[in-house]
């Protein structure tokens, strides 16, 4: 484990110093694009992780947020893709040298950013889904458990069999937050629900994800929540192949992937990576950008319950609104760890009173 990162680090340092040596040269060049652009508008550069654009998840969401911000605030938005992990440092360096804000998308860039950020104290960095404690870095993390709780409420109300599947990638903190938040939401409305929980031990094994989902459906689950990256694609494949439309469902994590199995996605626990990037660009344009740690939940619209295809019945949505209000009011604290979940499941809160759609327009999903 230690040998490989060390090797990468050495390589990246070498590349970094090569780039750093070239930097004054580039700055001295009279018609450098850097100077021309600095006069025109603020430049934001997004550095992807190795999955890159087209992942229909993280990277695409961040790009959407940046593109919208570019349109609304007249900044220049650029994307640099990282083909492999050794490209993180040079890409971040390039972003910092040629622009005003560099957006590092995903926890995979954490170490690279921790190395680069101190070298450019006058540039701003935005890191998604992880924390680097530097004065010029704004770190954005999400309270995934809150949106997971709300889709859990919907699933608990919606399930006919009372058995719900969860397919995880690896049991790392963001996945655990999703899992326990979801389970808590289900139990809050259906205390007798059964869970079928399975881990693939990989985020890139869709064939295994499919096997796990198939086994869960065979065990009587009628809703499966994948929290597993590309492994989760296999869960959509499973529900599509079984083709029991209206009987077996999947729930989207982070963003809708209904196109993978059209008609089978019940609802989505939305993660606002785009919102975070948009906000960062807005703050930059308004001169209010600052370092620090931002923890985004329902309150900040960082995460939300979403029903893009209107498949959740209205009476269930009433309960979702009620629990959302309770979380917003602080009346309900969603567990984030196994210990907190244990405590939660032993003292389940009483069933909430549903809130009608007119009462809180702000709670309308898909906002």
């Amino acid at each position: 484990m230690t040998i490989v990162p060390a090797g990468q680090l050495r390589l990246s340092r070498r590349r970094f110093s090569a780039l750093a040596a070239l930097a004054p040269l580039a700055a001295a060049m009279p018609v450098g694009g850097r100077i021309a652009m600095a006069q025109d508008s603020l430049v934001c550069t997004m550095v992807t992780d190795t999955v890159g654009l087209g992942d229909q998840n993280f990277n695409d969401l961040a790009n959407n947020g940046g593109t919208d911000a570019a349109r609304d605030f007249g900044i220049t938005w650029r994307v640099v893709e990282s083909q492999d992990a050794s490209a993180y440092v040079p890409n971040l360096v390039a972003g910092a040298e040629q622009g005003d804000l560099t957006v590092a998308v995903g926890a995979l860039l954490t170490d690279a950013l921790a190395e680069v950020a101190p070298q450019f104290p006058d540039d701003w960095f935005l890191l998604i889904d992880s924390v680097v404690d530097q004065p010029n870095v704004q770190s954005v993390t999400f309270r995934e458990q809150e949106s997971a709780f709300l889709v859990g409420v919907a699933a608990g109300m919606f399930t006919k069999t009372g058995t719900i599947g969860i397919v995880g990638g690896m049991r790392i903190p963001p996945v655990i937050r999703y899992e326990v938040g979801f389970k808590a939401g289900v139990l809050a409305v259906r205390p007798d629900a059964n869970f079928s929980i399975a881990y693939a031990d990989s985020f890139t094994d869709p064939a295994k994800g499919k096997e796990l989902a198939v086994a869960q459906f065979n065990q009587g689950a009628d809703i499966v929540l994948p929290i597993a990256g590309l492994t989760g694609v296999g869960c959509y494949e499973a529900v599509k192949e079984r083709n029991r439309l209206g009987e077996e469902w999947v729930i989207g994590a982070d963003v809708t992937q209904d196109h993978l199995a059209p008609g089978f996605e019940l609802c989505v626990a939305r993660k606002g990576v785009d919102v975070a990037v948009y906000e960062g660009c807005r703050q930059l344009a308004e001169g209010t950008f600052e370092g620090g740690i931002h923890d985004l939940g329902l309150k900040e619209s960082g995460v939300d319950f979403q029903d893009p295809n209107d498949r959740v019945p209205e009476e269930i949505k009433g309960y979702v609104r009620a629990y959302k209000q309770m979380i917003l009011d602080g009346a309900l604290v969603v567990p984030t760890t196994d210990e907190e979940f244990e405590t939660f499941s032993q003292n389940l809160p009483p069933l909430a009173t549903p809130i009608a759609a007119e009462a809180t327009p702000a709670a309308t999903p898909g906002a």
């Binding site: 654009l53 087209g54 992942d55 929980i197 869709p206 096997e211 198939v214 065990q219 494949e237 599509k240």
Partner: protein, 293 residues
């Protein structure tokens, strides 16, 4: 436990075994002819990706399957040139091809669809039963075919001669290089079909690194099966059975720690190898050339 050992568990074992079996039979042919083949993983990835790309552009999964097999065969041909004609180190050549097999699909996905993570969904190969692709019986039928080829036909015995004692084979007029080329390319075709089973037989798309070490498990099955088609089949079924059991046990919530269940296939492998591998005997001419340098 009454409804634990179900027909679904059986089909899961068959599905899990299929890509391993294709790749393992390919690896077996290559190794029996005397060429080490650790590049099965790379061939599988090439086959899996090209099968999806072929299906996407030709609108027919069978043509896609053909494309996948051909692409992996091309990769295997490179391995053959390096290992047989140029006498490169066979392990190093295999590592290079594994890296190529992982990298080329990512590069091409970026070019073709501007996304490096996964391809669009395409049409799948037909199913012969619920959850059983048409490639599943093909894989199992190949086992007696390969056994018959190696043990009962003239070319098969010559392949064995090339693998056991290349100098002796050469001295009696057997074209060792020719048989080795054929076997290595056949290993590419079979591993490519194994990869294509994952992408257009089981799933309907390619994702980066989707083989997840199945090529190496296939190679382990060859060694564990003592370079014999029937032994390899048994080893493949053991690995696939452990994997499918692990999946089923997790989903059923049998109260065993998930970590232990995830480790189960590897634990079983360890136990089996420590118990059995001392009897294994690789082809004597594995990695050796027909003429002395």
């Amino acid at each position: 436990m009454g409804d634990f050992f179900t027909v679904e568990l059986l089909t899961a074992v068959l599905r899990t075994a299929t890509p391993l079996l294709f790749a393992a039979l390919g690896g077996l042919l290559s190794e029996r002819s005397g060429v080490m083949n650790i590049a099965l993983e790379g061939f599988m990835l090439l086959g899996a990706f090209t099968a999806v790309a072929g299906t996407y552009y030709l609108h027919d999964p069978f043509l896609g399957l053909l494309c996948g097999a051909l692409a992996a065969a091309a990769g295997a041909a490179i391995h053959a040139v390096w290992c047989i004609s140029l006498r490169a180190d066979q392990i190093v050549a295999g590592i290079a091809l594994n890296l190529l097999g992982a990298g080329i699909p990512i590069f091409l996905m970026q070019r073709l669809w501007e996304q490096a993570g996964r391809t669009p969904s395409v049409e799948k190969l037909p199913m012969i039963a619920s959850g059983v692709s048409i490639l599943v019986p093909v894989a199992f039928l190949l086992v007696p075919v390969v056994w018959y080829l190696l043990e009962r036909t003239k070319p098969g015995l010559r392949i064995q001669a090339a693998g056991e004692h290349p100098q002796a084979a050469e001295s009696v007029g057997i074209r060792v290089s020719g048989y080795r080329y054929a076997c290595v390319i056949a290993s590419g075709v079979l591993a490519g079909i194994g990869g294509a089973f994952l992408s257009i037989g089981d799933l309907s798309l390619f994702t980066r690194d989707m083989t997840q070490g199945r090529g190496f498990i296939a190679l382990a099955a060859v060694i564990f099966g003592n370079w014999n088609p029937l032994g390899t089949l048994a080893a493949t079924l053991l690995f696939a059975g452990a994997q499918a059991f692990q999946v089923q046990a997790q989903a059923a919530g049998v109260g065993i720690s998930a970590d232990l269940l995830l480790a189960l296939p590897y634990l079983l492998t360890l136990i089996a190898i420590t118990g059995l591998v001392r009897h294994s005997r690789p082809p004597a001419g594995l990695g050796r050339h027909p003429t002395v340098d």
